[in-house]
Amino acid sequence: MPDKLTYQRILQEYLRDELRVLNAHLPRKQKPLSDLLREEYPHVVCNDGSTYLFKRKELEYLASLIDSDEQQALLLPMLIELSSDQGEAAVILGEEVEENIISKILGMPVTRKQARITIYRPQLALLRKKLKTTTQYIFSPARY
């Protein structure tokens, strides 16, 4: 049975581990959709050195939504930022291409302010259903 101090230390270790794990999966570098479509196994390398695999079907679905110029401009995976100060909202970091894609998938116009597209949790669920591997969550501790 650990004493009180050991228990506190265990909890502190847990917290440290939790923060380390949160953003370890972020890609070192995002790749354009057009490049990924040419790869045999479309993937990106993450910060922790692991490989993140994209589903070809999803990439083809995205390619069907936009033209070839936009395919060059669309960087994948798209990052969804979460922070508690936004309540139920999530922010997608992106430019015009991302805005186009998201509005097409959700079937409604979305607003973009300073390269940030704000959507709400029910819409997030719909987006994640369609784009499972081409979107990733990012937790920004600075905003908490």
Partner: protein, 210 residues
Amino acid sequence: MPEQLIKVRPTKIELIRLKRRLSLTERVQKIVKDRLSILTLEFLQTARETVEAKKKLVDEFPEVYKALSLASGYHGYLALEKEFMATEMNLKVAAGSRNIAGVRTPSFELGGTERAVRGYSLVDTSSCVDRAAQLCEKCLETIVELAELQRSLELLGMEINRTKRISNALEYIMIPGLQATIKYLYMKFEERDREEKARLKRVKVLLQPG
């Protein structure tokens, strides 16, 4: 449950440290709660998809068996087995991983199952065999999809449990403990101040002449 005080020396520097620790813990709690809500959202989504994939598989299997029975009835079991000997192919499954809010889940993608020429003689076989082969290929895709979904569901479930434990530990043990200790230190300092005042008054009385 009463809050457990953390054993610290009652000094100002310890108070500053505890306050810092409390603010960090509160920030982490927010992150953990957000992560928990995302994991739950993903878990429910994966559960729904798993049920759909299972239903699809349950619907597809009888179709496959029916088509195979028809084909074997039409051509005879031995003739069909002879044809199928030449149809063996290496399956290509691209296996990787994807990350959902810190949970690494498997990702499988079956490639090259649909072939124009399947290997059996088109002269000696009928459309029954074609249909059976087509349905089998479809079934294979669903099996791979289900494998991915089921493992993801298990991993997400385990992570939700772990995150819930952390969230509860923060909410019910760490934060109340830190708050209680900070309160205790404040009380200790106030008590010390009062003692100091009383002592000074006593000294003043003693020093007064006559």
